[in-house]
Each structure stands twice: as structure tokens, then as C-alpha cells.
Symmetry: C2
Subunit: 129 residues, 2 copies
């Protein structure tokens, strides 16, 4: 948590209450969140502030934008581990995948990849019954 606060300070941005709340929300959530979810979780913070805070966090590379197969954009804290997700279309559970094809695709296509999506949606084991 300290680490994240420092990233904000070092970017020159002020450590305001809305920013602390949004950061805390991202920190305690164990899954990527939509702007709407973050807004709901941060009482007394305007949606526009959540929007601008996430925009800032994305710019200073504190959070990462993730597009799921349900076409909703979510955000989560950048962590040391790069990972992808699978979301249950029934209960909404979000799990992480231990797989990423980035380097394979780069060498195969000779592209210099700057962004990628690798997300799945389906029924989790318990929702298949």
C-alpha cells in the first residue's frame, strides 16, 4: 500500500481523499473493478472524480485497464505478476489465469506488442451443475 501511495506522490499528484479511497478500494478488491463498482464503493466521491482518478492512475501506470468478454472495462492495480482472467457468466466469479502468450506472439508475428487482451468467459465448475 505504501508503495502505491509513493507512486502517486512521485508523479506530482496530490494525495487527496478521493484518490485514497479509490486506491484503497482497488487494493482490497481481489478482482478487477468497473468504474461504476469503484464509484459505489467510494461513498462521497463523485463519479467524475472516480473517472479522473482512474485516468490518472492509468497514466502513471498504477492501474491497468482490462476488457472482459462481457465488453465491460475493468481496472486493477498493476502488480508484479502479469496475468489474465476468466469470468463466470453465471455467478460473476473472476479467476486468474497463469498463462500469457505475449512473447510467443511477438516472435511469431514480428510485431512489437504494446497492448493485449486475453480474457475468457464461461461457467465455473460450481455453476455447471
Amino acid at each position: 500500500m505504501e508503495k502505491y501511495l509513493n507512486v502517486i506522490k512521485e508523479s506530482g499528484a496530490k494525495l487527496t481523499n478521493p484518490r485514497k479511497k479509490v486506491l484503497h478500494n482497488l487494493f482490497t478488491a481481489n478482482k478487477p473493478l468497473t468504474l461504476q463498482e469503484i464509484h459505489q464503493n467510494c461513498s462521497r466521491v463523485d463519479f467524475a472524480s472516480v473517472y479522473r482518478t482512474i485516468k490518472l492512475f492509468t497514466e502513471i501506470n498504477l492501474v491497468e485497464e482490462i476488457t472482459f468478454a462481457d465488453n465491460k472495462t475493468r481496472y486493477e492495480l498493476v502488480s508484479k505478476l502479469h496475468h489474465h482472467h476468466i469470468i463466470c457468466s453465471s455467478c460473476g466469479e473472476i479467476s486468474q489465469l497463469p498463462i500469457c502468450l505475449l512473447s510467443e506472439i511477438e516472435s511469431f508475428t514480428n510485431y512489437k506488442i504494446t497492448k493485449h487482451i486475453l480474457e475468457f468467459m464461461g461457467l465455473c465448475p460450481s455453476c455447471q451443475n
Copy 2:
């Protein structure tokens, strides 16, 4: 092309001009298109008609929705081959990838996967210079 026309007929939908134009546009394009692009290419067809046509085509499984890393939704005709894409963030060139992790992810996670995104964005070889 005949094949696609038949899918439309068999679904019970009428073969109208707007539908033919949209189909033709998807057929000749060798990359996924956005609704806006399709609309531009189909003169005298209202955007709402493009919208509804694509919605219909998706429902009868004639086209497939694709979400790229640039967060724009595109559509392309369902073909025998299931494939994914990489888009150049500089020139917009879209290429296909010969790789798909569907079954690997299914067996690893025990999810029953219904939908997935596997898309990349970066600089194509010629735009890296």
C-alpha cells in the same frame, strides 16, 4: 456468398437491400469492421439498420463480435476457421493469429468456456522503423 444468403433465408428473415449490402460489405472486407465502418461503406442504409442487421446476423450466428485492445467492437463473418487478431496501433493493419488457447484453458480451469477474447495490439514490422 450463397451460403450466407441461405443462412439468412433459413432464419426466416427477409432478404432486403440493407441486409444484402451489409453482408456484401462484410464479405469483401478482409478484416473485422466496426458498425461505423460498415455504415460508411453501405450508402443509403441508415445506421440503425446497420445496427439491427448486425444484431440479427450475430443472433443467427452469421457474424462474430470481436473486441480489440483499442476497445472498439468489430464484427466479421463467421468462417470455418476460428482465429484471433493483432492490430497495428500505427497503421491499423489487422492480421490473423493461428493460435487459440480455448481447450487448454478449459482443461486447466475446469470452466466451460462460452466466450473469449484473445487480441493483441502493437506495431507491425513496417511501422517499427
